[in-house]
């Protein structure tokens, strides 16, 4: 491999969409939808209260 080349590649521009923006519809397949259905079955209920009550004492 010639890893030295990699650092010389032109930097991609900031204009490219960040992955946190605009989830693409086509990213979801039937397989993913089936998986989400399966996860729905195990996901704790009452998300808002559940997340609010998860408080930890600080650690290291």
């Amino acid at each position: 491999m010639a890893s030295g080349e990699h650092t010389r590649k032109p930097k991609p521009t900031r204009e490219e969409a960040a992955p946190t923006e605009a989830p693409s519809k086509e990213a979801r397949t039937q397989e993913v939808d089936d998986l989400l259905d399966e996860i729905d079955e195990v996901l704790e209920s009452n998300a808002e209260e559940f997340v609010r009550s998860y408080i930890q004492k600080g650690g290291q």
Binding site: R28, L36, E38, Y54
Partner: protein, 493 residues
Amino acid sequence: MSLPKICGIETEYGISLKTEGEFNPILTSSLLINSYAQPAFKRVKWDYEEENPLRDARGFDRAVAEAPGEDDSGLVNVILPNGARYYVDHAHPEYSSPECSGARELVVWDKAGERILEESIATARAVTGDTSDILIYKNNSDGKGNSYGCHENYLVDRRTPFANIAKHLMPFFVTRQIFTGAGKVGAESGAADIDYQISQRADFFEVEVGLETTFKRPIVNTRDEPHADAERYRRLHVIVGDANMSEVATFLKVGTTSLLLKMIEDDFITDDFSLREPVACMRAVSHDPACKLACELADGRKLTAVELQWEYLRLARKYTQNEGSDPVEDAVLDKWEATLEGLERDVMSLAGQLDWVAKLALLEAYRSRDGLDWSHPKLRLIDLQYHDVRRGAGLYYKLAGAGRMERIVSEDAILHAVDHPPEDTRAYFRGECLRRFSPRIVAASWDALIFDIGREPLRKVPTLEPTRGTKAHVQSLLDASPDAVSLIANLST
């Protein structure tokens, strides 16, 4: 010549109860550990004699007093047959893996820790008969400004100046989060708000170098507590990492850091990648899931985290070509390269390898299906439950079960590691002695076992050399010692 990178990972797990109302995390953590530990192992005390968490690698002793934690004494603290330590620390159950000889082994014994916590939930329930569920999360933040650690430890040559270690590790640690990050919805600890970030931990680092671990957390931690021959060794205590569910992420985290340390010991790195503002850069890198942000170096150059990691990989390739490498290191180098290529090409292509990308892909799928805004509490729940150690309920395990997460080791190896020590470090001697002679062992620690052979005085067997006490080294001794008395006699001849 660099030292073998004996390594381990200590994880403070998040703990909660499903029921409403008051809950005491110390009592529940104690219950988990007490119910799990076998009686024969529970009576072996942890030997605190060599513990000295306030000694500083920069040479001063007890410089900045960190308030003694409520973990210091009297709490549950057991040694497991696999050579690990399982105890209550800072109101969390903590699993400190046994010493391992490399990244692949450490993935195995780190994962064994998850299985031990999962099993402890069942043993605790059997004790109390309680139907309320104890919940255990292998993550680093409660999302409300409280963080708990996942620390790595590496054997380092005492002769290597600490200043060199700090100088070269700093830019490496700031940028390695692009593959070690476990992902987090939102920001904490005064960081500017953001939808999603790469690391669970990055928001909590405030200084560059220091001794503290619970506040003013430093990127390079100076705790100098070798748990080994202090004349020869340091134990580098790395507090900057996220706890990983992904085997690939742990493998890369440990494997790349081990290679960096070898290069530093051999004074191989002549480049200076010092960052202008490491602490600010640490946050900025974490807050940039596109991986496009340029970090400014002290010399004015601007490189992205990926580009800086390419530099380290280039050095590591050259170093191993000169000095040789083992098959695990070769696998680390190849995985490192594939990961950087993936991050450059399309971040989402690593959804099957890296925790932060896997979690992001899952969150995006939910957002797409249910039309959820980033502020929706369900997304924070998914973030949390990704780290649930129960294989039937943890979302990482749902992804893994669907074949969507790449594995590094086999489940058989992990289950074997629950009850067996690694064979090629001193953990083997510790684990085997406990398995064979526990009624005669009064106390144990990382660097000693203390035997009561029925007559005064107690006999201390030091294990100050982490590379000794391996199966190859002591199996014949152990096999020739049917009991502790003969072991002590054989050791002194």
